[in-house]
Subunit: 424 residues, 2 copies
Amino acid sequence: MPSAYDQMWEKLNLDLEAHEGLLAVLGKFYGDIYMSQQGRLKGMEYLDFVLSEVHGLRIKELQDAKASGKKVVGTFCVFVPEEIVLAAGAVQVGLCAGAEIGKAEAEKVLPRNTCALIKSFVGFKLAKLCPFIESCDLIVGETTCDGKKKAYEIFAEYSPVYVMEIPQMKAACDRELWKSEVGRFKSTVEELTGNKIAAGDLRDSIHLVNERRRVLQRLNRLRAAVPVPISGRDALLINQISFYDDPVRFTAKISELCDELEQRVKSGAGIAPDGTARLMLSGCPMAVPNWKLPYIIESSRAVVVGEESCIGTRNTRDLVQEGSATLDDMIDAIVDRYMRIDCACFTPNTERLDNIVNMARELGVKGVIHYALSFCQPYSMEAYKVEKALSAAGIPMLAIETDYSMEDVEQLKTRVEAFVEMTR
Amino acid sequence: MPSAYDQMWEKLNLDLEAHEGLLAVLGKFYGDIYMSQQGRLKGMEYLDFVLSEVHGLRIKELQDAKASGKKVVGTFCVFVPEEIVLAAGAVQVGLCAGAEIGKAEAEKVLPRNTCALIKSFVGFKLAKLCPFIESCDLIVGETTCDGKKKAYEIFAEYSPVYVMEIPQMKAACDRELWKSEVGRFKSTVEELTGNKIAAGDLRDSIHLVNERRRVLQRLNRLRAAVPVPISGRDALLINQISFYDDPVRFTAKISELCDELEQRVKSGAGIAPDGTARLMLSGCPMAVPNWKLPYIIESSRAVVVGEESCIGTRNTRDLVQEGSATLDDMIDAIVDRYMRIDCACFTPNTERLDNIVNMARELGVKGVIHYALSFCQPYSMEAYKVEKALSAAGIPMLAIETDYSMEDVEQLKTRVEAFVEMTR
């Protein structure tokens, strides 16, 4: 079916036929997983709309921004300081991808033993399926894992790539390296945009990004209620869209949704029947449209009440301290905030173990499902430590390794159901 | 069969029965691969002896050193500056392992999708098979790859582990971080040994380690001769043993072997029949007893004339600059030398591409076999760039991914034979 956006997609050099196929599959998948839910919040209509226009209206907005002279910066990781991009008047969008469609193309340049997320973004590029990638003036990678670090070198043959170095420990020399990298990034963004970042710009953008984190923190607090007032799928979608949507509009819309949620919590209404097991997810990020595991869990007499992941609390837990008077102090505040990220790229990464146990206790979950993408060594290896920490706290854990294919759905469902049964 | 070393191994808490099995298999494997060769240098007898006593006499020497108050430091990576360990009067030994025997134990704590080298050293520890690990007062890991970085966290539950952070780029801030890490390592080694490193000690150890590198450089130059005067297997063994043996004795013995080799080169004698294809290996290190691929290649009308790997030129190409007057200057020289390592952990890593092409040209090879351990993301992903660089230079490349199992030997042999045929 021809779309009103065909001309735009054609200009972005997408493979129109394959792209139409992608949107059709995505629409069907979304319908099955999302529109089938009962008792959804009215506020979710906005998210449904944004998702339905993810390659349409949102791309049109990016193109309009570009036409007005703005630059678009794409990222794959919560380590890239959005505050700096926004302060320079640019737009930042997340490029992590959760679909398998470009896999065959990706495997022409990447080993088969590469995680699905990396294959997905490389595949989207090579198969000409992602209007976000094609809208970017700069794509910012980072060194959080071997797979991405080396994939960016290949990706750079196709797109304008800049890579930030992320330290692997948290000593003083690591903070120095990271501060130097933040400074290098600031210069790069200033050069890209032609805008020198002033203290006032950065103060505003720090506040703006913090406001989005605050509203997501509020969402997380409301989700902790018993009975749970929103499905894990819907909460995940909100977190996913936070990486793509205009931050001011998104924050306002989610604030309204939280008002509605608050009413629901006050009224004692929930979305799951009594006896539904409260579980938490922990591990790798789930990028759009990777809703496989939450859907399996929530079809197994359980509900997800929290996501300890980059598309989850790892992105929202810490704020940049506000109130700094000078640009230098603001940069220091940014440096400090991002150094607190508890990514498995750090060694050791005991903060993450503490954060998971605390989160599981605060949310009153019956168990944790640890999710690692196959071939994601940092998270799949850290699962061993997570299980030990949770076990010491008396909280059972199920470790799952999977990818974006649907081949293992039945097998995963059997394992999840057995785990849910066990937690009763 | 009881060994004269049983008592020593028992004191080291080895699993004697399993260890006896390991030595029997190792002896058989060595016999098949090494002792079957024709026209070996007389100097190889020393290497045969050292290998036959790898868990015997060499361990006895380490135990004697410990009894005299010396400390033993184990390492897994060419980034650990041996100069500092030796200057503090300690002994350094390489712990990388090339056998599959402890795999089942390792997979109890590591994901199956972990490279064979990591599974091997973890397995050796858990299965109580490695007298080197058990002799160590400190085991030094590093952050060169996700797999090792996270495995050390688990390994630290069983052995005294210290981890050095390796930067991922080569800018000024990376050198600063690395210098800070070298300083932290020096303090750690001084504390371990109780010996404060003086300028004279470090000057001597820099010279000593350089001397070992120089003799291995000489070996590499002699191997470049046509016809090739030494098998790739024998040269690999020499490089492997350089990580275990006493450095002074080793250098003297390899110097004698090079004298013999020089005579052979002068006389125009070679070890392979006319028409044998000259090939080069590039990629992951091959730790003892991982001789699988060189043996396959050298049973396929080809000979290996160089190894671009950590157990190869990556460990010997660069010297620490000598002649510094002060301790600080010597540390700077060490920092600079190790920053030149062209490990795939760096991004970008174009030096490696240049080094490979130069080496292939200098050695006059017909082709390069790129060897990556399965699940080693840095090297398996960089293979794409290596192939491009070699292709631009008109040199064919065969990319192989394998592990320590023997299951794929016939399949590899077929691929290698086809590649050798193609290079003619």
